[in-house]
């Protein structure tokens, strides 16, 4: 491909991306009344979308076959666990995801560390 052709291709991809992101705003402009069903979707969709995103991220993880499957699943469970145990709420729990990332590394080294990390994390809170 020539440079110009590459630029056109990248432009086409950018246009398609913007289109998917802006479609809802174009279809339902601010000035006009948004249909009730669309407003309903705006309320009901996010719950489903985040469920979808979690599955989307985990879909490539194959259990047992590599070093990441079981540890990955374990540490996601751990992230969920620490998240559920932490009160009061701290908005979005950045700490937990960061902690989870560290845990992932630890887990690859040895699964025993899970218990350690879990117990420490819980006692911290």
């Amino acid at each position: 491909m020539t440079t110009l052709q590459m630029l056109i291709t990248i432009g086409a991809a950018g246009a398609a991306t913007v289109l998917t992101r802006a479609a809802a705003f174009i279809a339902f402009p601010a000035g006009r009344e948004t249909p009730a069903f669309v407003r309903y979707l705006g309320n009901a969709l996010p719950g489903a979308v985040f469920g979808l995103l979690v599955v989307y991220c985990l879909k490539d993880v194959s259990i047992l076959s590599e070093s990441h499957g079981i540890p990955g699943g374990n540490s996601q469970g751990l992230v969920a666990l620490t998240r559920l145990q932490s009160e009061p709420r701290e908005g979005i729990s950045t700490v937990h995801s960061a902690h989870g990332a560290v845990t992932q590394k630890t887990l690859v080294v040895g699964n025993e560390n899970v218990r350690f990390a879990a117990s420490r994390r819980c006692s911290d809170e």
């Binding site: 052709q5 056109i8 291709t9 913007v18 289109l19 802006a22 809802a24 669309v38 979308v49």
Partner: protein, 236 residues
Amino acid sequence: MRAAFPLTIPILAGFVFLGITCGIYAGSLGLPWWVPVLMSIVIFAGSAEFVVASQLAGAFDPLTTFAVVLIINARHLFYGLSMLERFRGLGRKRPYLIFGMCDETFSINYATEPPEGIDRGWFMTWVTALNQLYWVAGCTLGGLFGTLVATTVEGVSFAMTALFVVIFLDQWEKDRQHLSAVIGIAAAAVAPCIMGADNFMIPAMALILIGIACTRRRIEPAYAESATEDDGEGCA
């Protein structure tokens, strides 16, 4: 910005390394260093950029590229629907917020209330801008030094998955009903059986729409004050 930065730290880790991977990948296809950089600025959608890179290495066919990216990023339609009300009245920030609404940015901007005294519009703009900055930085590093930095980046994307898990749980607690969350997971779990694991997104979205339309009478009362009239029964 100070309020937005801590929330984007998991994205910083994830995007920089994923960006490097994207840059290395583009380089491995024989593409010049500026391609991943330009893509990260113009497209700003991770999975789509990997696919576009592979197409740039092939024959010139922008229409196919357009269609493929449209399908990969179709889930952003839902983000727009969810953000319709929240992006209201943000003036000049709105176009950029819409442009930069990738998975991670949407998740943070949807799920987070800015701290007290912080302007919501600026908060969301900073989240978006920081995330894109990380991504551009990663892609640039990968594009320029890809061959030198032979890293294994497996496992780093974990930080972002963890972010989604946490946001999902946050959302579960905050939400006034849980049926839609269950529908989302069920749809994502069933969809690969229909179309195969590689293109499960579109059937999953269709299933979610059908599921949510069918259960409208169960779900909608939970948001009674925000949705008043009822014109359409769904299929249940």
